[in-house]
């Protein structure tokens, strides 16, 4: 189940896989996929199950099929490591995905921009679209609302009977929305909301505002 929100008069859909769909632009935004991480581990002798490589592509296909976006914008850390053979899988995925692809580069994106350009993917350090600032690292800039990733936000909830729980989330503060990590093989970092912050937690197949 998705959650719809409005920011600056625009309509957005938050998806439990960790993506956000911008209705007016038909643009799907996704952050921190960390492709190639599994292959990277294996190359250095850590036997992460090989099948885990495919999980990310399955999830990507699933979310793309749901929105059929015109554009997909990755908010950085698309690729986890230097070039490895997983690039071939990525090429295949790009070839069969009809949407236009854009990358706002992150700290992990160390693969040469030329390789991306060969696939027709333009790379930007940041992007400004109608009052929205798209970056990898969280930024504050006057007059702009920031979409970003990098943090892999999660939230801790407490309840009666000393219960507590940690969930990945979309974390919205006054002029910023931090995306959860989309990738299957990634960790999280707990944030503590202040007054006025909104938290959209990912609970199995639902997005719930807490």
């Amino acid at each position: 189940m998705t959650q719809e929100i409005q920011i600056l008069g625009q309509e957005f859909v938050l998806h439990p896989l960790g993506g956000l769909f911008w209705k007016e632009k038909s643009m799907l935004l996704i952050s921190d996929v960390h492709l190639g991480k599994v292959a990277h581990f294996r190359k250095f002798g850590a036997a992460v199950p090989r099948k885990a490589i495919h999980k990310n592509y399955v999830l990507l296909d699933q979310i793309v099929a749901e929105f059929e976006p015109f554009q997909i914008c990755f908010l950085g850390d698309l690729f986890h490591s230097s070039l490895n053979k997983e690039w071939d899988l990525f090429e295949n995925w790009v070839a069969k995905t009809p949407s236009e692809l854009i990358l706002v580069s992150g700290n992990h994106d160390i693969i040469s921009p030329l390789k991306f350009e060969q696939l027709g993917i333009p790379i930007y350090n940041e992007l400004v679209v109608e009052g929205f600032l798209l970056t990898h690292h969280p930024e504050q800039r006057d007059g702009l609302f920031n979409f970003c990733g990098h943090i892999h936000p999660a939230i801790r909830l407490r309840g009666f009977g000393r219960q507590n729980l940690r969930l990945a989330c979309f974390f919205q503060s006054q002029n910023q929305l931090i995306f959860p990590a989309f990738g299957a093989f990634t960790g999280t970092h707990t944030l503590h909301p202040k007054k006025g912050d909104k938290v959209f937690a990912i609970v199995e197949d639902e997005v719930i505002q807490v």
């Binding site: 294996r42 190359k43 850590a46 999980k55 053979k85 009666f160 000393r162 729980l165 937690a201 807490v210």
Partner: protein, 815 residues
């Protein structure tokens, strides 16, 4: 032959014990064996002597013509003990005028020393299981060991119940092949399963076992156990773990004996006691000291020396003083808080009264009221010598993978040869060819089939079928990671100018801000910054309540101890004059307990329920020990959740367990549905969320030991947080897509067999099945429940729809 040894003993003015003579004889007859002797009994002389005599025997010109090369290995689990062992070896080699050399090789040995040893090995080598494996990982190791004719595994009981024991078994399996004349000996303190200990050491159905002896020292030492009973029971707390209420009772004990050791269960408790004694009794300044595993080595050695010189009145310590070194001046031992094990209690008692004819005196200081029951039970246990078993590990594939990589790193190995060796060990006696093939595939391909895009690289197979690591970087990384102890990451604590104070857990220091003051190694230190793997500090005049707490120390009662504990408890309802003094002293607490509830009898099983601000408490009292309660609470919570969706947190101690929930649980339904049945126990446990969480934690160690997660180079270090999260991610990946992975499954096997002690759990459920269940609905917490409900370290369980829970929790989300 051993007249040489006897005359040496005469020269010292000693006479050898029968067990020493037996060991000399058996060793010289070419036998293998296990020697059961306590610390400080002269066990080192029982085995160093025949080793040296054997050399003399074979080299009649030994005084002038010295044959170089490694002749014997002495394995010790604690490197701190190695100096002591070396001294006793050197006494013999020198006095008998041999030219034999003695060397130490542990994690503390400098690289230059190691290089020197590599060129020319000492005749007698003292080392640890880890360092032995490091030798196996170096090129040409077979020549080093070629003429080694004896290996002694000291404190074998310490290794036996851990993966270090498995590591030792594997090391021995290799040495049996490459050292043709090897004699294998173990030394163990008294444990319940000594025969099995011998079998594990030598290998079941091995020729070594057939040609072996078990020698018992049988030194009947008198041990006097005295409980410290608070004079005012009414004000003695129902909960707590520090025991500071009784500090003043300890003072006369310290004053009346030459040297007193005060054993605490955790390093944190040790720091606090040391601090508080000095605070209340400044006159002891300079006369008391502290000793625990995180304090730097020089300080520890200084303290140990000071005990021997009789220059200290008292030492507050932890298990760091359990083993090894002999402290003759120690007259009295105080155990603060329940020691949780009879063997450990006896070991500690044995630290005192080493002078001939003197009895060992140990005081038991309870930290809260119910611990007095434990004190009384412990006295009975000591009388009956009811000592626990150490359960050896089976099928530890993570250790095997590490070992195979070790062999691949050095000279490479041929699988057929190694399979036969490994199969001889106790741990892998049921190893099949299928599993063996799985392990080989895992080493070479990182999976069970080959795919073209895969770049997995670790072990490679040469044309003639040898398994070999060719990449230098992999070999280097592997050597750093040899070992089976995966602790919390620790940082060294230093002054800015570099003075080293000790080590501290990352989890503690990461919560500190610059300027914060904490107490460590008996000093008040101000935290400045973290630099690399070092926490920089300066002395501070400010005082602080922040004391690092170290995990661990949460041990569980053994089956025997729980049985004794229950018997003591049942005596509460008997005539006063038949009760032990401890139980009599508890009369006010029992009276309070009876106000709302009962003190259960042998045929009764007590359940208490009540509500507090924390939620609805449901408390169950099997009195079976922590480990069993952990499993039983998880099992019961799962079964209750089948009746209706529920979320609860679990807490447990040695006496009982609690399900704490935000809704009340229908106990009548629990009883009607017979939820304590042992039927379907294992499958229910497997489904319970909690066992999944336990397996997840076990998996962290497995991932590190098997080399799937790299712990980082020393001093540079991967932060524990990262290690934790990468092994957690791995666990989830296995769960999702490769749940037949042997290492993933091993995490569950270890959880059920070692943590939850599934066999004992079944017996406990059967016992409950025969008891009458008494359910008391109380208005207030009872004395029995107090230590449990105040425990903050909890497990969680839930099968409610997550979304429903969150909607309820949202209301409570503040800040």
């Amino acid at each position: 032959m051993y007249h040489i040894a006897e005359s040496w003993f005469q020269q010292q003015g000693w006479s050898p014990f029968p067990f020493q003579k037996q060991s000399w004889g058996a060793f010289l007859d070419g036998k293998h064996g296990l020697l059961n002797a306590p610390t400080g009994s002269g066990k080192t002389y029982a085995l160093w002597f025949p080793i040296v005599l054997d050399y003399i025997n074979r080299n009649p010109g030994y005084k002038t013509k010295h044959k170089k090369g490694l002749k014997a290995i002495w394995i010790t689990p604690l490197r701190a003990l190695s100096q002591e062992i070396r001294q006793s070896a050197e006494r013999i080699t020198k006095d008998l005028e041999t030219q034999m050399t003695v060397g130490i090789r542990t994690g503390d040995t400098t690289t230059s020393e190691r290089a020197r040893q590599k060129k020319s090995m000492p005749d007698l080598l003292i080392t640890t299981p880890e360092s032995l494996h490091l030798l196996l990982s170096s090129k040409g190791y077979k020549t080093v060991f070629k003429n080694c004719s004896a290996i002694v595994v000291d404190e074998w009981h310490e290794l036996l119940g851990s993966k270090r024991g498995v590591q030792m078994e594997l090391g021995l399996s290799r040495l049996k092949t490459i050292c043709p004349n090897l004699r294998i000996w173990g030394i163990s303190a008294t444990i319940g399963n000594l025969e099995q200990a011998r079998e594990v050491l030598l290998g079941p159905s091995s020729p070594q076992l057939a040609n072996s002896v078990l020698i018992k020292a049988n030194l009947n030492k008198k041990i006097a156990v005295k409980s410290i009973i608070p004079s005012k029971m009414e004000t003695f707390p129902w909960r707590g773990h520090l025991g500071l209420h009784l500090l003043e009772e300890v003072v006369p004990i310290i004053n009346n004996s030459k040297t007193t050791l005060l054993f605490t269960n955790t390093r944190g408790q040790c720091e606090i006691w040391f601090q508080k004694i000095l605070e209340k009794h400044p006159e002891y300044a300079g006369e008391i000291a502290m000793h625990h595993g995180s304090i730097n080595k020089d300080t520890r050695l200084w303290v140990e020396q000071a005990i021997r010189n009789e220059s200290l009145k008292a030492v507050v310590c932890t298990s760091s003083l359990d083993l090894g070194v002999d402290f003759a001046p120690v007259e009295t031992v105080v155990q603060i808080g329940g020691p949780k094990g009879v063997a450990r209690f006896l070991q500690r008692a044995g630290r005192s009264g080493h002078r001939p004819g003197k009895e060992s005196v140990i005081y038991f200081l309870p930290t809260h009221a119910i611990e007095l029951i434990e004190a009384s039970a412990m006295q009975k246990a000591v009388l009956n010598a009811a000592v626990e078993d150490r359960t050896p590990y089976l099928n530890s594939y993570d250790v095997l993978i590490q070992y195979l990589t070790t062999l691949a790193v050095s000279d490479g190995f041929y699988p057929d040869e190694i399979f036969n060796e490994v199969k001889q060990t106790f741990c892998f006696q049921t190893l099949t060819h299928d599993i063996w093939q799985w392990l080989l595939n895992f080493l070479v391909m990182g999976s069970q089939s080959l795919k073209s895009y895969d770049e997995y690289k670790k072990v490679e197979v040469t044309e003639d079928g040898k398994f070999k690591v060719n990449l230098l970087s992999i070999a280097r990384r592997h050597r750093f990671q040899i070992g089976t102890i995966v602790g919390d990451a620790s940082l060294s604590v230093r002054y800015q100018k570099g003075g080293y104070i000790g080590t501290i857990e990352e989890s503690f220091i990461s919560k500190m801000n610059p300027g914060d003051v904490f107490t460590f190694a008996g000093r008040n230190l101000e935290f400045i910054r973290i630099k690399g793997m070092t926490a920089q500090v300066r002395n501070s005049p400010k005082r602080s309540n922040k004391i690092p707490s170290w995990m661990g120390g949460r041990l569980s009662f053994s089956a025997k101890m729980s049985e004794l504990l229950r018997q003591e408890l049942y005596s509460a309802e008997q005539a006063l004059d038949t009760q032990a003094p401890e139980i009599r002293a508890l009369a006010p607490m029992f009276a309070k307990q009876r106000e709302e509830s009962i003190v259960p009898q042998p045929d009764q099983f007590l359940i208490e329920t009540f509500k507090t601000n924390d939620g609805y408490h449901h408390i169950f009292y099997p009195f079976e020990g922590r480990a069993i309660h952990e499993g039983m609470s998880s099992l019961l919570a799962y079964r209750i959740s089948l009746l209706s969706p529920i979320t609860c947190s679990l807490a447990f101690n040695d006496y009982g367990f609690e399900l704490l929930s935000d809704k009340s649980i229908d106990i009548a339904a629990v009883l009607d549905n017979n939820l304590f049945t042992p039927g379907y126990m294992l499958s229910d446990l497997q489904k319970s969320l909690n066992s999944n969480e336990m397996a997840r934690r076990k998996f962290r160690d497995i991932a590190v030991i098997s080399g799937m997660v790299f712990t980082g180079y020393p001093e540079k270090g991967v932060k524990m947080k990262h290690l934790q999260s990468s092994s957690q991610l791995l666990f989830d990946v296995f769960k999702d897509i490769e749940d037949d992975n042997l290492l993933y499954q091993q995490a569950f096997t270890e959880t059920f067999e070692h943590q939850l002690e599934e066999g004992r759990l079944r017996l406990a459920l059967e016992r409950i099945g025969r008891q009458e269940i008494i359910w008391k609905q109380c208005t207030n917490p009872t004395p029995f429940s107090f230590p449990i409900i105040t425990d903050r370290l909890r497990e969680k369980l839930s099968n409610e729809k997550l979304a429903d829970r969150i909607k309820r929790m949202t209301k409570l989300l503040t800040k």
